[in-house]
């Protein structure tokens, strides 16, 4: 596909130098206060801590690490432990106040503020919600919000809530920003030597069958009968599979599931429309899901293997649908 790049068409533009920083939750909330931005999560827990005058002294070095390790093992209620954690963060942020005042003048601090301000003014917001099943040593979710304003795209992301990644760049960097958020480590599951199945490349399954494979009862013995009622399953080459094959495919997806992604696109000034992209990660491969129907009306989930960088490609058509036809009107 020839790609031709032409020069500047309009007036001179500003340049957006990309950046990516890891900030503590309390820092982000404090920064948001400073620039008057409302964050996409509740901040009352942090607000309460920030407003307290009696914060405990800062622990440092080994004492801090030991305290941190004990935090989750105390007999105290989890909410008290969370409060203690945030207090400790807030105290350290206070300790750094002088340093921060110096930072105010530097370009890095200005860039952080500007990035958060741009996020707060975003005309379009992409919300990523990722549920992870990568094993006990990994977190179980990713929450991320990507906003676009002017020439800038800004993302906020967190795994546990304790730390937040703030990243920004030009709109053209969105594909890589999005890919970064869903690029996951390889799973460490032991390979089954008896498993000689080819890697999945694409599949089609009736939606009911997909859901039935993952109900609490795990009645795999009934899946072939259900598959017979809801035909339409097929493999990568589009060849139809019989009921037993469709049932086996559903079980394979369920047992190999390592992540689920829900990406929602919204526009600030439109409360009637939202866009949705649904992905599943089976073993180490992401699959983009799109809806379909058989000739007889059976609802189908059509899965296609994708790369993290394809998230932008999937979001493009959705953005086209969410964006108003009056966009750009002077």
């Amino acid at each position: 596909m020839p790609v031709v790049t032409l020069g500047r068409v309009g007036p001179p533009r500003d340049v957006v130098v990309p950046g990516r920083e890891r900030l503590e939750l309390v820092e982000v909330v404090r920064l948001a206060r400073e620039v008057g931005v409302v964050l996409p999560w509740r901040t009352d827990l942090v607000d309460a801590v920030l407003d307290r005058p009696d914060l405990r002294a800062v622990r440092t070095g080994e004492a801090r690490r030991a305290w941190f390790a004990r935090l989750g093992e105390d007999a105290r209620p989890p909410e008290d432990a969370v409060a203690a954690l945030l207090e400790e963060q807030a105290r350290r942020v206070e300790e750094r106040a002088e340093e921060r005042a110096r930072d105010d003048a530097d370009a890095g601090a200005q860039a952080r503020r500007a990035a958060l301000s741009a996020f707060g003014a975003a005309e379009v917001l992409i919300e990523l919600d990722v549920a992870l099943a990568l094993g006990p040593t990994h977190p179980d979710r990713i929450r991320a919000w990507v906003g676009a304003h002017g020439e800038a795209a800004v993302s906020l992301a967190t795994l546990t809530g304790v730390d937040v990644e703030l990243a920004w760049g030009a709109v053209g960097a969105l594909p890589e920003m999005l890919a970064h958020l869903v690029r996951l480590p390889a799973t460490t599951r032991d390979a089954d030597p008896e498993d000689d199945r080819a890697p999945l490349g694409a599949f089609t399954l009736p939606v009911e069958l997909m859901a039935a494979a993952d109900t609490g009862e795990r009645r795999d013995d009934l899946l072939p009968a259900l598959a017979a009622r809801f035909p339409g399953g097929s493999t990568r080459d589009g060849a139809p599979v019989d009921a037993a094959g469709a049932a086996a495919l559903a079980v394979r997806l369920r047992d190999g599931l390592t992540a689920r992604l829900r990406a929602v696109v919204r526009r600030r000034d439109d409360s009637e429309r939202a866009g949705l992209v649904v992905w599943l990660r089976v073993e180490d491969r992401w699959f983009s899901l799109t809806p379909g129907r058989t000739a007889t009306g059976v609802a189908l989930a059509q899965g296609r293997a994708v790369d993290p960088r394809d998230l932008a490609r999937d979001l493009g058509p959705v953005l086209a649908g969410v964006w108003g036809r009056d966009a750009g009107a002077p």
């Binding site: 596909m1 031709v4 032409l6 020069g7 533009r13 500003d14 340049v15 008057g36 827990l45 390790a69 935090l71 989750g72 989890p78 954690l85 860039a111 958060l116 301000s117 003014a121 379009v124 549920a131 099943a133 990713i142 020439e151 546990t160 809530g161 730390d163 990644e165 053209g172 969105l174 890589e176 920003m177 996951l184 009911e208 039935a212 993952d214 009645r219 009622r229 369920r254 689920r260 829900r262 409360s271 009637e272 429309r273 866009g275 949705l276 992209v277 599943l280 899901l289 809806p291 609802a299 989930a301 960088r309 932008a312 490609r313 953005l319 086209a320 649908g321 964006w323 036809r325 966009a327």
Partner: protein, 492 residues
């Protein structure tokens, strides 16, 4: 025995009054019935193997066979109890699956509304204009927190320190790895952001932030997908909302072509360049421009972005009830376009150029790839503005696609580098960033980009424009007429 129909509840929670508890009770009822029948069935089968029957088999083989056949027929035969039991249990499973789907749809809807509330209800942030314009010193500061970048920047420290804006732009263009490092670092989010926060605190903290968990389940994903199974019916009516029919002459240039698409989208401007209120189009309007006289006729179909379809409602309707979830499929629009072309009397096999903006362009590419549509019409050209088209992997060789993309436009996000190398798909990227993300997607900016294409001497572009001329879509001196159709969703 015919299987009882499953309770079909898929299709979105919005229009369904089913209560999950009731449905689950129904599932239990089916399940219990299945258990009871199955138990009875196996009890009966045990009879087939009991001593009396075995004995009779020795004494009277015929009577044993009859008895065994009767018992087995009543249990595992096609209409037997065991089969019935399986049928009931499958129903129970199906109901539970649908309940799971519905719960997923509800969860999705709730999150959607929360997000919309967030966007609509928050105070605007204090914008600090220009602060993203970071000079060389800023880049150095950023590099200091990024080891991967530090070495590269260190090598250029002196020259970066004195850079102006244009030089910095040039530096970033010459060193794309800088952007790559800053955006992506060495891996994904998990590699860099995992804290050593005790696992027991992760859930409570996220809950305290109001961030509900998403469950890594297939039925949850099925629930998300079910939200996309909306109504795909459509209606096509001749005419539009403007008082006067829009009339277009044959375009003489690509800019002319995009300008006419802009007029279909936003209305025909008057002599002052403004669009009078009585000339504004309604939602879902498309224009079909007929050029030439029989038998030498071709058709340009102008396809604006179609996102206002069917959701405008009236003031008394709850906008939440109208929430439309978009998955990028757009099939109702595509079907409506074809129906409008049929209504317009475009004869089978007629040469056609589809010209679309945003979702209109996406739909144009989709139609050009649809064998059924191409059987009906000779699609020679697709011209798109601000439309993602990479999701259409296969287009026939005889369809020429020219895609205009403003680098500042968030909508055509797709990266041309990943597309298949096909000589009939030409993508033009132009730098038309305006500083306003909405305007970057606007057709006025794309008209400027089209003018840049007209002026370009790039061989790919001159070839594309030559083909449009040779096929009579640009610079055709023949007479023209325009007809307007309005496409809307139906049955919603």
């Amino acid at each position: 025995m015919s299987e009882p129909p499953i309770v079909s509840v898929t299709g979105g929670a919005g229009g369904i009054e089913a209560r999950y508890e009731d449905l689950e009770t129904l599932a239990r009822l089916f399940d219990d019935t299945g258990d009871g029948l199955r138990s009875a069935a196996w009890d009966d089968k045990a009879i087939a193997a009991n001593g009396d029957l075995l004995e009779s088999a020795v004494l009277s083989p015929g009577s044993f066979a009859d008895a065994e056949g009767a018992v087995l027929g009543a249990t595992v035969g096609p209409d037997g109890l065991a089969v019935s039991a399986v049928g009931f249990e499958v129903d129970a499973l199906g109901i539970r699956a649908n309940v799971g789907i519905l719960r997923g749809v509800d969860d999705l809807q709730r999150r959607l509304f929360e997000g919309l509330d967030y966007l609509a209800g928050r105070a605007l942030g204090t914008i600090l204009p220009g602060l993203l314009l970071v000079g060389g010193a800023g880049l150095l500061t950023l590099a200091a927190s990024n080891p991967a970048l530090a070495a590269l920047v260190a090598a250029h420290r002196d020259e970066l320190a004195g850079m102006g804006k244009e030089e910095l732009i040039a530096f970033l263009e010459d060193h794309p790895e800088v952007v790559q490092h800053l955006i992506n670092g060495s891996g994904g989010l998990l590699d860099g952001l995992l804290s050593n926060v005790p696992p027991g605190l992760r859930g409570p903290l996220l809950a305290g932030l109001g961030l509900d968990p998403l469950h890594p389940t297939l039925n949850g994903a099925a629930g998300d997908l079910a939200g996309l199974f909306g109504d795909t019916g459509y209606e096509v009516t001749p005419g539009g909302a403007a008082d006067a029919q829009r009339e277009f002459g044959a375009p003489t240039s690509l800019a002319d072509l995009i300008r006419s698409l802009d007029a279909t989208n936003g209305g025909m401007p008057d002599a002052t360049g403004e669009v009078p209120a009585e000339s504004r189009p309604g939602d879902g309007e498309i224009d079909i421009i007929t050029i030439g006289e029989p038998p030498d006729v071709r058709y340009i179909v102008n396809l604006p972005g179609t996102d206002d379809f069917g959701v405008t409602g009236d003031a008394v309707r709850d906008s939440r009830a109208n929430l439309e979830l978009i998955g990028g499929q757009g099939t109702a629009y595509a079907a409506g376009i074809r129906a409008a072309m049929e209504q317009a009397g475009i004869p089978p096999g007629a040469p056609v150029a589809l010209v679309g903006h945003s979702q209109g362009g996406m739909t144009a590419a989709y139609l050009a790839s649809d064998p059924g549509f191409r059987d009906a019409y000779d699609v020679r050209h697709v011209v798109t503005a601000g439309a993602p088209t990479a999701q259409i992997p296969d287009l026939p060789d005889d369809v020429q696609v020219l895609s205009l993309e403003n680098t500042g436009d968030v909508v055509p996000l797709t990266d041309g580098e990943d597309n298949p190398d096909e000589p009939n798909r030409t993508t033009v990227r132009f730098d038309g960033a305006t500083g306003d993300i909405a305007r970057n997607h606007g057709l006025d900016v794309y008209t400027e980009g089209a003018a840049a294409v007209d002026a370009s001497t790039d061989p790919s572009l001159t070839e594309s424009l030559d083909q449009l001329r040779e096929d009579g879509f640009l610079g055709n001196p023949g007479p023209t007429s325009t007809s307007t159709y309005t496409i809307s969703r139906s049955g919603g």
